[in-house]
Amino acid sequence: MNGDQTQFEEPILKLRRQIEELSATDTEPGRQAEIAELQKQLIKVSDDIYSKLTPWQKTLVARNAQRPYTLDFIAFLFDDFTEIHGDRKFGDDPAVVTGFARFRGTPCAIVGHQKGRNTKEKIFRNFGQPRPEGFRKALRAMKLAEKFKLPIFSFVDTQGAYPGVGAEERGQAEAIAMNLREMASLTVPIIVTVIGEGGSGGALGIAVGDRILMLEHSVYSVISPEGCAAILWKNSAAAPEAAAAMKITAPDLKRLGIIDEIVPEPSGGAHADPARAAEILGPVLEKNLKELLKIKPALLPEERYKKFRKMGVFEKG
């Protein structure tokens, strides 16, 4: 369905093709200058297009299969990552990855949603939609982090928790609810980064933290634009309208006091240059970690409570 809707990227793709073609035809005189000129143009065109994305276009960007996923950010930013598996109750959920690693020398725990790129991977990862085991595995890893006094990095990238029969039977709602309550009480720093799609309860289930960061073109919403459109507009084709109405972009969430920081993406979005995207995110994570490590661990739950307690807009009187 994205085919005709990602047309806004066409001028960027065209320039990239031109640059590739020129680079392939080797070193004729003047080529380098021509390529450099095109590259300058590429940045200008990309920046221009990406500064004007609509909320719906951002949704499509956030879902782009070339965007860096949790495991990509782990590879770029962490050392000695070792994955752990299973919730010790029922099974393992590949839609969530958990493990331990070092972040610039500091031992830490990592939890994150994981999507797949090709058909086989997508099915294996269940399109990044966790079942209860995913949330329970994440909580197990986070409790271990608390036990060993390790900070937690959480990466959010899911269209939502999986709405299936088995998921309901095994307590999808209970699994998410438990994570919300338990994450609120953990006595270690939790840094959450929305790297792509922040879809509803499935996202929030690993997103209660001391710092909530969002990549520039990621989205975070209470329901998918299509879902909202289907219910309120009675027509899922109204997804672009729903995306705009729900205020799902990083600047909107910053303004509403939900997130702490917007992390810039490279020219043309994180999928245009995943390594650069990680390079930009790294120092932001480091800065936030440093700040949080200064807070007495026992005080973290109180601070976290205050942070979420403030969320919401209403009138009094």
């Binding site: 928790a161 999986y162 709405p163 299936g164 029969v165 998921a167 309901e168 039977e169 095994r170 307590g171 999808q172 709602a173 209970e174 998410i176 609810a177 438990m178 919300l180 309550r181 338990e182 609120a184 009480s185 509803s200 309860g201 929030l204 289930g205 997103a207 209660v208 975070y220 919403s221 209470v222 329901i223 879902g227 909202c228 219910i231 309120l232 507009w233 309208e241 729903a242 109405a245 729900m246 205020k247 799902i248 909107d252 969430l253 509403l256 939900i258 739950p301 976290r304 409570y305 979420f308 307690r309 969320m311 919401g312 807009v313 209403f314 009138e315 009094k316 009187g317």
Partner: protein, 281 residues
Amino acid sequence: MAWFRKEKKPKEAVEKQTAIPEGLWVKCDECKEIVYRKEVEANLSVCPKCGYHFRLSATERFEMLFDNGKYKEFANDIHSCDPLEFRDTKRYRDRLRVYEQRVGKGDAVLCAEGKLEGVSIVICAMEYAFMGGSMGSVVGEKIATAIERCVDKKEPLIIVSCSGGARMQEGILSLMQMAKISAGLARLGSAGLPFISVLTDPTTGGVTASYAMLGDLNIAEPKALIGFAGPRVIEQTIRQTLPEGFQRAEFLVEHGMVDLITPRAEMKGALGRFLTIFRGN
């Protein structure tokens, strides 16, 4: 023991407001029998023919649970204000006004304090008639206030859920109420105070995936629909029709997610027994 404290008498009974359709007679949604309205009401809005539990308004719930139907509402000065200037086919602001006129100014939850079998307690009862009991900033703020009151006064909390989930018209703010309330419940738990979640038909979405499933005890009314995803969404995902009884209270007991099913007539008694036992005397 720790959370128990003698409280001064609450007062003021509140006028009745019913969720059963107007008229002398009503048709039961379950057995389709036409039953005399007064008879249904006298039976706690349970069908005398088949036991179907009609939906209760928040005030009816309070009258049923608080001793002598006496309680004091609080946190009722908080109102929705359309923070996103949301508009679908209609403006959210206009929808709110319609519901406020039709149902009341309390949004989708009312909070009250009183006694249940002699135990001083706070009850939050959701109001399904107000936008499907959907949870936005107001519901979150009211329940968070109720939790803090419980912690301050060392009182147990009961939340009677009846909701389709988070309110889309307040976007991400609605989602965050799940975290806000769950974080509050963590504090209530640390204070050693009981929280009993009563799940009624329907309890789905973000309400189930936060406080409704976090009770020290989760008690459901018979046949209540309880789930994370709505049945239609699941059917679309799996491209199959769901079996009879899927996501009903009995199904949740079978799968270990709910402690017990209690018919409405026995609800107050059951809650009272647990609360006095948890109190340790």
